[in-house]
Subunit: 208 residues, 2 copies
DNA sequence: CGCTGTGAAATCCTTCACAGCC
DNA sequence: GGCTGTGAAGGATTTCACAGCG
């Protein structure tokens, strides 16, 4: 139930602001100009992004680091921990399991699923891999709120449907397929091949 | 030297169109409406995206699949193979090394670098890991055009500078740090924690 | 005086709607 | 008749510029 319409990119930038603020002492006071230097976004952009969520600073002074950081954290929902299910324990999946960056920011992978019988029951990074058919059951049991799909393209649709059926409402998908989320489900796609293709587009262009 | 200004998102969508076309027989003729069904983008959007690059179809008929696919592939620069250096062979790096999706789309990781002495000289996925100090030398030797940075945040700036010094002009960065590319260098950031935070933003909002 | 917060302008991107060709 | 390619309209996002407060 969003109170105000927030541009999609604003949210990504909030993450960047938050990380920049994490490097600074709590009691410092910082201006939008200084955040600009730290993040590369313009000062006007930063101030505008913040207006979607209320008032944050003191005119003539700036923003108190601790307060701004805390409030952005609250907006992003990272002042709490989230429980995440990882589906697909191939190369990418196991890398994500081991990736400390998620844990640091409050995303705890508490369950892992695969359909490969040779993997099920094995322990990776302290987590026992379960059969994907147990997703719904396990998700409820463990109170899981988010899912990461790191399965092959062919399996993505089915994994997605299982996750939705399991009551998971926020899903990060690495498979290069189009999934159509039902109402109320947040789906974010990370398409690595497409990112590489943006690079090759650039190279191909600058050559001609 | 872009001939026309192309919106950033248009390029990502071209990747999607190309992949959709890859599933269809060469000789089929397809309308923008049908591509829309396949990709989820509107027909008008698809036609508009194509106008940035010239004429592609036949009014009253549609697009010849093979021709459209080939021409989009050429625009994206994926009608040729690219040689890629991977920097940072941690969890994510080794997953990317093993990831077949890149190879399939013409991105060949031909060299891998790390600064961990225990990894250097070892072979992963058929590639011998080299000392990062050899990046410039090796990049020239192997005619490498792209780089992927999968290093920790602290090491990202240095790895980036080394890659640029090695003449690499297109870089995909997974480290959550701001890098400022010099003129003529294409930098794309993939920020996984920020993507997760977009999800938690959504969950936190829909709760209140 | 310095800096935030924000109307208003400018820019960028998407959608509409249809002329023109097959 | 059907569908592309594209001006023009519409919408969204970013930037400008400054009122107003500390």
């Amino acid at each position: 139930m969003p109170f105000r319409k927030v541009p999609a990119l604003t949210v990504s930038r909030l993450s960047v602001y938050h990380r920049a603020l994490s490097t600074l002492p709590d009691e410092w006071i910082i201006s939008s100009e200084e955040i600009s230097d730290l993040t590369g976004y313009t000062a006007a952009q930063i101030r505008r992004d913040l207006t979607y969520f209320g008032q944050f600073g003191t005119p003539g002074r700036g923003y108190i680091v601790a307060e701004l950081r805390q409030r952005i954290g609250h907006i992003l929902g990272i002042d709490q921990d989230w429980k995440v299910a990882l589906v697909g324990i191939g190369h990418l999946g196991s890398a994500l399991l081991a990736y400390q960056g998620f844990c640091e920011r409050g995303f705890n992978i508490v369950a892992a699923f695969d359909n490969d019988i040779t993997k099920i029951g094995k322990k990776w990074e302290g987590i026992v891999i379960e059969d994907i058919s147990r997703l719904a059951e396990s998700a409820v049991e463990k109170d899981i709120q988010m899912g990461i799909l790191a399965v092959p393209a062919k399996a993505a649709r089915e994994a997605f449907d299982l996750a939705v059926a399991a009551g998971i409402k926020a899903i990060l998908n690495f498979a290069p397929v189009r999934l159509t989320p039902p109402e109320g489900i947040q789906l974010i796609n990370v398409d690595l091949a497409a990112e590489m293709e943006r690079l090759s587009f650039f190279l191909a262009r600058s050559r001609s």
